[in-house]
């Protein structure tokens, strides 16, 4: 399945775009997604931390992702 990913802040700089897509086996989890992205964009691993949001909620590593989900990469936040 193809997962479209929204990128914000420094993640946008790392991906070179505000959306990227990755190809993952059906039934993949957030952890699989992160591993695949870190493989493709090694600079992700240099961040202080980052989270995956699925449908506007912070997602646990074990959460299964589907093609219908809205997926986003959330680098360390700094609002306020």
């Amino acid at each position: 399945m193809e997962i479209n990913i929204l990128a914000f802040g420094i993640a946008k700089d790392i991906f070179g775009a505000s959306t990227v897509s990755v190809e993952l086996p059906a039934g993949s989890s957030t952890a699989h997604l992160k591993a695949s992205l870190e493989d493709k964009y090694p600079k992700l691993k240099q961040l202080a931390s980052y989270m995956v949001a699925v449908n506007n909620e912070y997602a646990e590593d074990c959460l299964t992702i589907t093609e219908r989900d809205e997926v986003a990469i959330i680098p360390p936040v700094s609002g306020g």
Partner: protein, 139 residues
């Protein structure tokens, strides 16, 4: 128990924020106003840029507000956050809380800004004379 949350690129209006949280049964309002500082760790700041994952940010601020209403006897909670380019002295965030008694207003307002800075998907880029940096991105 009312909440008003806004995220947009227009300048924030302090007076209208305070007018909104006022109510005849409130005795005190605490307001936190963030302002863009001219320096970070001694380095001159030219401008800031704020970016938000708007839908999720509103979602997360809503969670903070719900937690506030559980934890403190407050009457109204307002959070306005600006995005886009801001210069020194401009206002990225206004938080206002009204309550019958001031303790609750102070504590809730403090909790909101502290938690917002930890959980709400909004990002700040600082522009210096010699470069730019996404705040908090790297260890």
């Amino acid at each position: 128990m009312q909440t008003q949350i806004e995220i947009h690129t227009e300048p924030l209006n302090i007076q209208s924020c305070i007018d909104w949280v006022m109510s005849p049964d409130s005795g005190g309002i605490d307001v936190f106003i963030g302002t863009v500082r001219n320096a970070t760790k001694g380095k001159r700041v030219l401008k800031l840029e704020f970016e938000a994952y708007k839908k999720m940010a509103i979602n997360e601020i809503n969670k903070i507000s719900e937690q506030v209403f559980k934890q403190w006897p407050v009457q109204k909670v307002l959070v306005h956050h600006r995005t886009g380019t801001l210069h020194v002295g401009e206002i990225p965030v206004i938080i206002a809380v009204s309550a019958a008694h001031r303790d609750a207003a102070f504590e809730a307002c403090r909790y909101i800004i502290d938690t917002l800075k930890q959980t709400v998907p909004i990002w700040k880029k600082e522009f210096f004379e010699d470069g730019e940096i996404w705040v908090a991105a790297h260890p």
